[in-house]
Amino acid sequence: MADVPANPSSSSNPAAAAPAAPVAPPPDPLIAALTALGAEALPLTQDLLPVFRVERDAWPSVARALRRDPQLSFEMLIDVAGVDFPKRRPRFEVVYHLWSLTWNKVIRVKVGVPEEDPQVASVIDLWPTADWHEREAFDMVGVKFAGHPDLRRILMPDDYPWHPLRKDFPVEGIDNSISYVKAGGVLMTRELDVDRPAGQDRTPVDRSHGDPAGYSDGTPTLPEEGRS
């Protein structure tokens, strides 16, 4: 960081810079610092958020610098999100939003993750809040976070075989009668009615105990799994 030219007054005086409109805006020291670390600066977002793209291999060192360097000191990880761009290479992106409380600066960092090896280093040792965020990104998009101590699904059931926020996943779900949840001794098949027209939902097996119609004692109509 020492070789980065410090330039504290470059952007600190917007009022003075305003009349000289044609002059290019002074180089942002933050962008300079991150470029020196190996990040590629992308155009600002609409709400003037600096955006950076970091190579997957460089991300651990960049993250460490962002967190630990007293002159960057991004103390707070606001969000980790996995994004799927099915036509792009690399296909996945992991997007981090970081907030420096010291400097009151928010930046966005994007790390591309290829489909063949969907893995990226976890930042849980730098920002402990990344725990659940990374679990969610893993659950929804299927990016694995190397070094995460407890990378389980967080929103879907534990045995769910797909990553539903990938763009090629049908929102109705896949008919997954092979998949099941074991709960309370009951095998619950997971079939979906999404493609049936209205009024033709598969009416489930009538498990209502004590319904007068169709009940006869001693016959196997009383489902044993329905009773505890």
């Binding site: 005086n13 960057l72 000191s73 010291t102 600066k105 209205a198």
Partner: protein, 230 residues
Amino acid sequence: MSPESAPVLPPPAAGAASAASAASGAPRFAAAVANPKVMRHALTTNEKLFVGPFLKSLLYTFSRMFKKDITRRYPEQKMENKPSLHGVPVLVMKEDGAPRCVACGLCEFVCPPRAIDIQPGETDRPIEREPKSFVIDMLRCIECSYCEEVCPEEAIVMSTDYEVVGRRREDFVWDLKKLLKPIAQLKDRIAWVRRTYRRWDSNADASAPPEGGVYRDPRWAGKSKPVDHH
């Protein structure tokens, strides 16, 4: 961070991005910074003894006994049936017993949970199309009234029935026979629909066409002869 080290970033107060928040020059929660402790008055003897406030609360509960109670005894006293109530969607049945619906399928398309299923058929009436079967799965319907809003014929409206319970799922699949409701019972709602959904129509005359009659679009007044589609 020591003050000597040259900061890479501008100090927050002078940064361009934080100019708006820094304009006032003071922290936003100045009062909270000045008085970090919440101010509380010392407890009086009465409050320490606890008996006084306790009796006060009991007295309040007791005093409610002499006030008018606000309970609405449901099965006997139903809700006031305002025409704006979103109840169960029903089909408008004309005086001759036929549905107004022309089976255009707009409501089927717009229904968010896809609760409606229409099988269109042909008819000898001038409208040429009518629903052969019209099914709404009431266990899917969320009473959103989109179907009513989209219907070009004012053929499906929300009724004021709102308590539908049952023991089997099949009971909730309402067919044409169950959905059709005489237009005489739906006059209020149809008038409400016209008032509400034609509010943006500058020429609309909300008080105009009589319920059950032909709706004459005011934009075409005098320009063409309206046809009674039904």
